[in-house]
């Protein structure tokens, strides 16, 4: 039968990702906040008002975590909501495009933005913060933070299915910003009141940050396997919820 050949499938995935990249990079409302917020915050709090390289190093990781969550939540949340509302999702579903291309494209873009954010932070850290890490540390940090965006992609899909294009940004900000603060991404977790430190464990961002801090050996000392399990569980739950929502969309 005329099932998709591997080379054709590859071409479609690549094209879809490229189109998504072109589409988003031409939207200043997406690009500017996504890139500038983590860079600016880091420049102000990590470098200009920071106290030395240790601080700059610590905050590079926390703003890095903050940074990579943004494109995952917004790219998927707002993207899926508006594609759905505009009927584009429906159209793509009836065309001979494998649905995987739709998701791979969005994951790809979220990763590309994350890489740009991390490279920017690393540049600021090295040039102005005096941060020096070993090659393995850099690689592990990037790897953890990039793979760590996946739970937030799943959360984004769920939000995108559940909310419309107008309300999705607000819903995401209401989750994203308090979660970032309470997970210790803006202000180090150990400075927060004890009660908030205890609450932090309910947020996936906290667990991702702890895994990233472990590269500097600056995590809170809980089990790394525990953080990983929480993130996996979180991903599974949101994928399942998103899957239900997705099927409901289809059958409606």
């Amino acid at each position: 039968m005329s099932s998709l050949s591997l080379s054709h499938a590859w071409k479609i995935h690549l094209q879809e990702t490229w189109s998504e990249w072109l589409k988003l990079t031409r939207m200043p409302m997406f690009v500017l906040p996504t890139l500038l917020f983590p860079w600016m915050f880091y420049l102000f709090f990590g470098v200009m008002f920071g106290r030395g390289a240790g601080n700059a190093e610590y905050l590079m990781v926390s703003y890095g975590t903050f940074g990579v969550i943004g494109p995952a939540l917004f790219g998927f949340g707002v993207g899926v909501a508006s594609d759905r509302q505009q009927g584009l999702l429906q159209l793509k579903r009836v065309l001979p495009m494998p649905m995987s291309a739709y998701f791979i494209a969005k994951i790809g873009i979220s990763l590309m933005f994350s890489i740009v954010i991390l490279l920017g932070l690393a540049t600021i850290a090295v040039l102005f913060g005096g941060v020096r890490l070993g090659l393995t540390q850099w690689i592990s940090l990037f790897a953890i933070l990039l793979v760590g965006t996946l739970p937030f992609c799943a959360m984004g899909v769920f939000i995108g299915i559940r909310s419309n294009a107008q309300s999705a940004p607000a819903v995401i900000n209401l989750l994203y910003l308090p979660m970032a603060f309470l997970s210790g991404l803006w202000i180090p977790i150990f400075i927060l009141p004890a009660i908030l430190q205890k609450i932090a464990v309910i947020f996936p961002a906290y667990h991702l940050a702890q895994l990233a801090f472990s590269v500097l050996d600056k995590h809170q000392g809980q089990s790394l396997m525990g953080h990983l399990l929480v993130l996996l569980l979180f991903t599974a739950v949101f994928l399942m919820l998103a899957g239900f929502g997705w099927r409901a969309l289809r059958d409606r």
């Binding site: 879809e16 505009q86 584009l88 429906q90 159209l91 065309l95 001979p96």
Partner: protein, 327 residues
């Protein structure tokens, strides 16, 4: 073997071969009947218009043909296969009623993106030309007019040189000029021998494009036929009056298709019959009635009270006026 399959996909199906077949399809949403016993057939080279007012079930039917919903009852086959299969999707083109494309992408980029989905797409240049978009290739979708946006959606629908083209209300919301120029593009593609299934609530559009019209109302097919047959039914007028002419004589009148008596003449108080006459030639009939019947009174001419669908579709159509009054 693989070469043979390849050939099958590239070649246009022979004229007259059955492309789409719907038999006895019924479907309900939340116990609300959306489609009720619908049958249709589309052969290669045929343009079928599904005509009906909003909420008639047109989009539901299209969505079933596209495999988005599975009907509660009945069968749908495209190329003898189940709608929604990848091999079926490779051979269709789709223009949905509401599908906005990415505003920040240029026309050329959108066409390239969607053409990639197909194994044997038409070239970008061909598609731009077939949709009349040559001078808009480098314009962003968001900067286009409503008519131009529709053209991009049309170009995308043609990308795989489809054997069946689905157009769900292709010109809704367009001005007359934009509508006519899109019609020309649709007609051009129809000449290539594909099957086209389009929905519309304009009789004029169905007439301009289709060789078969199916009128859908409340999920049921209320009329089907060629455009001239359908137009004839819509042109039927009702003449309401009270007349002194005996009913038997009215039945024999050559211009009257049907006589519906509302109130018979009685010898005591009223010597006139109150009735409704159906005719294709209201003017001629009126002339005749007024000449022969000096008692004629309460005269009123309205569009045919056929199915509500007919009224609705003619009301929605700015070019046909179905209500004329005479005294």
């Amino acid at each position: 073997m693989s070469q043979q399959q390849h050939l099958q996909q590239v070649s246009t199906p022979a004229t007259g071969s059955l492309l789409a077949e719907v038999t006895g399809v019924s479907h309900a949403f939340d116990k609300l009947k959306a489609l009720n016993g619908v049958d249709l057939q589309v052969k290669a080279g045929q343009v079928l218009a599904i005509l009906g007012p909003n909420g008639a079930g047109k989009t539901t039917l299209i969505n079933m043909l596209l495999g988005i919903y599975t009907p509660d009852a009945g069968q749908i086959h495209l190329f003898g296969q189940t709608p929604g299969d990848l091999s079926v999707r490779q051979r269709i083109g789709v223009m949905l009623q509401q599908a906005e494309l990415a505003e920040t992408l240029k026309v050329r980029e959108l066409i390239r993106q969607f053409a990639t989905y197909y194994q044997n797409p038409l070239s970008q240049q061909q598609l731009l030309q077939m949709a009349g978009l040559e001078d808009k290739a480098d314009t962003r979708y968001g900067k286009l007019s409503g008519g131009e946006k529709r053209r991009v959606q049309f170009a995308i629908a043609l990308a795989g040189e489809p054997d069946i083209l689905f157009l769900d209300e292709p010109t809704t919301g367009l001005d007359v000029q934009a509508r006519r120029s899109l019609w020309a593009n649709i007609k051009n593609y129809a000449e290539r021998g594909a099957g086209i299934i389009l929905t519309t609530h304009y009789l004029e559009e169905a007439d301009a494009l289709a060789d078969q019209i199916m009128v859908l109302d409340h999920g049921r097919i209320v009329a089907a036929g060629t455009p001239s047959q359908i137009k004839q039914r819509v042109s039927l007028k009702q003449v309401h009056c009270r007349t002194g002419i005996p009913v038997e004589q009215l039945h024999l009148h050559p211009l009257i298709e049907k006589v519906e008596v509302e109130k018979h003449a009685s010898h005591s108080d009223d010597k006139l019959t109150q009735c409704t006459l159906l005719t294709h030639q209201a003017e001629g009939l009126l002339r005749d009635l007024l000449q022969t019947d000096s008692d004629l009174t309460d005269l009123q001419v309205t569009g045919a009270g056929l199915e509500e669908a007919f009224l609705a579709l003619t009301e929605n159509n700015p070019t046909t006026d179905n209500r004329e009054q005479a005294a």
